[in-house]
Subunit: 343 residues, 3 copies
């Protein structure tokens, strides 16, 4: 069961080009394409004529044409026309609210009439010139909530990402979690530590010494339905840490949009927004490649964790203080789900 | 549920050679081999001794010998002998009526005592010297009836086979369907059109101009349990079309034997019988290769259509006039199935 | 359902090295590693913190550390510690009795308090210098009892292993089976036969003429839960056969430890213990490679037999005199299983 009346990231804009894109979101099998005005739209991936997937068809003048027998569909899920046939009376297929914003295509898998674009989570960094963004997409075979847990407890960096961003001090630093309304925040500050390889690279790229001690921070923000945005960075030690002036730090936001596909799989849109050298495309590529490798290290752990949970469904997992971020995030999802079901 | 008291094409003769052939037809797991007289026979693919598949064994003097412990089986499904054992009292496995005719091996998956070889669908072209035949076999993961629908409505050629036999005029031509007893016929005639690439090739091979307008026809014939034979051809325009003299036309029969394997898979025996240049083996190869590519284009559409129908089992597909051929064919299958169940 | 209070071979010692080893035995998902004293141990492959497989972690000073968030487990399944957390109150996961003996790692998947190492099946050859052993491990997708049947009836050698150890005379020789307590013994003696290729090789390696007639024997011993040890050999004909002096024979023991994984898969530890040229490592390799090829020939037959049995669950297999070994072995398993369930 998923929170359906919510905005999820469904695709990157370049994925919805000339050809239709098949993608299942929250159990809804959708096809995305661009309508007559170039706007991204989505309807069910099911031709009302013979049940063929519309995603095997093509787009012509903003009309989605079934590749089996030529039925043309409108963005509203109504049949438009078909050579030699009267099709206007066909039962419509479902259409979905879709918005393109902040460099992502968002979908609202629930009731379209409730879909208010103003409810799309605001991304300040996506609108400002001093920021640059690069990211990718992974298909992960586990419950999307396991990925939320993963990202709201960065303790795992020490173990899963040993060679890049992990360091022993993460384990040792106190973690603090608080919830304000639907916003969960988990923070960790490590002062006077050696920067691990990824951050040494970031310091160098930012023209800063990388062989000195740093103050490091991680502030994870959960927002429903399943966004995790993590402020991360290092500053030369003793200069104020998170609050240090830009000239002595390298900081960025790890961006995680976690979109359920089925109960045991999800689309993981990952990336990094950085507030240094925004015009340096080579740096964007370098960071994306590094981050892609790191996030791929989580895959086996999460997918096998999922298999273990399916095998032992009766077992209760333990919730330590480091798990508070995930626990509180799930509680918000659960509460909103109850509200949605009740409504 | 399948029509079991019927003749289906099970294999091509060259598939049943020295080694036994495992093949499931209408849910029956069979092994085909050649008995003492070289005649193709079929029994259940299950050794009554330890349940090993007999298809892993070998044929010796027309006896099927289990490859696990050497039990020799007779064509009637009775155990013949086994070194050092008395096996004549073993319970028999099922044997099936099999006939080799018209260049195909046919099986009757139902009650053998009802299997009358005279009921095998007559193929005139297979017996006459002025015809040549070439074809192939595909395993397709969808309900065999979706393939019947596909072949009884050639509208899809415009969309699925754009680069070979599709052309816009198929969509525009009126389609007419009629049923006579157990024979469904769907026809379409397109006069004065440009021949598409496949037919230009056929005209050239037939020593005819390929850069002129043609009259094109498609007459699909369904016969139970699941045979679709399609008269197709082009004649230089204005010479009588389907009835034009041989000297100005290229015509052939698309041969489709569609044999259920499971509820969601089938064996698709496809081919083309042509009434021109029957002795030209290179032409047979060329046509088979072209046709093989074309029929492979249907695969993804049909298999994904099947997946969609499994996902939305409650949805009713729409039946347009172009679907009449499939609808009437399915009605005949349904009626015969009810008769078979009642009997 | 498996006999759980029994010793099974779980791994070869070299498989449990620096990294933890995931292996499912009798439906129990286990992780094997070496504890502080280097002794092999096993616990459930499930971290009590978040359910991650412990086999994805690492071993540090004999402590199994979860690779997700660093929980360290003890050999008894109790949580030891975790950075910054109090974990001693965590519910323990199951731990298992494990012994390393005779060159194998044995596990007792049932109640550890009943696990008496003295009950490990005694292997005389594994302790004596005049014997050499070589073997391997296959994962086979069938019920482990089908493998017991296979090995307790060597008639199949004639059919499955034609080019190596099979020969027509196996079929013709009388087979005799007897049960003494929990020990089933099936014997076959073939006097004055041509040695098949594998045995010609063994004779040559043993500096004996290989172009003469031999007396050949096969004595299969089943011991619960699922061990099959087969005395096999050939002696120059007329010298006493099984009882002939060493100087005129080549003999060995085929070693088969058959460890259930799931109801339809098992781990097959196969090998050969020989009492000639024990110091010849090249010979060990040569025999292992030959035997590996032979035992791989059984795989397709057994796995497809399993598929057939699943497809026709209602069919009763026939039990001939050659099947007596398997039948009596299964009867012992069944009786012990009833005792275990009753207890």
């Amino acid at each position: 069961m998923f929170l359906k009346n919510a905005w999820y990231v469904a695709a990157m804009p370049e994925e919805v080009g000339k050809a239709p894109l098949a993608r299942t979101v929250c159990g809804e099998k959708l096809v995305f394409y661009r309508g007559p005005d170039g706007k991204a739209v989505a309807v069910e991936d099911f031709c009302p004529h013979r049940g063929a997937p519309l995603s095997l068809g093509y787009v012509e003048n903003g009309r989605l044409v079934c590749g089996y027998h030529g039925l043309a569909m409108g963005c509203d899920g109504k049949a438009l026309d078909m050579p030699g046939q009267r099709v206007r009376g066909f039962p419509a297929i479902k259409s979905y609210a879709v918005e393109e914003r902040y460099g992502f295509i968002w979908v609202w898998p629930g009731e379209p009439e409730k879909a208010d674009p103003a409810m799309i989570h605001h991304l300040d960094w996506a609108e400002k010139a001093e920021w640059a963004y690069g990211g990718g997409l992974y298909h992960i075979k586990c419950d999307y909530r396991l990925m939320i847990d993963n990202l709201m407890d960065l303790t795992h960096e020490t173990y899963v990402h040993t060679g890049s961003i992990g360091q022993k001090e993460i384990d040792e630093a106190l973690v603090s979690t608080k919830t304000e309304g639907e916003h969960v925040m988990t923070s960790r500050f490590m002062d006077g530590v050696q920067p691990p390889p990824f951050w040494r690279m970031a310091l160098r790229m930012n023209d800063l010494a990388d062989d000195v001690k740093v103050d490091r921070w991680q502030i994870c923000h959960f927002h429903p339905p399943s966004h995790v945005l993590i402020e991360v960075g290092v500053a030369h030690a003793g200069q104020g840490g998170y609050h240090a002036p830009d000239a002595v730090k390298a900081s960025s936001i790890v961006v995680d949009f976690i979109t359920p596909e089925t109960e045991t799989s999800h689309w993981y849109f990952w990336g990094m927004a950085r507030r240094f050298k925004p015009g340096d495309a080579a740096l964007t590529t370098q960071i994306r490649e590094g981050q892609g490798k790191i996030f791929n290290e989580d895959r086996e752990m999460l997918e096998q964790q999922q298999q273990n949970l399916l095998r032992w469904p009766e077992r209760h997992l333990l919730k330590l203080n480091i798990d508070a971020g995930g626990v509180q995030s799930r509680r918000i999802i659960e509460r909103k789900l109850m509200e949605e079901v009740a409504a």
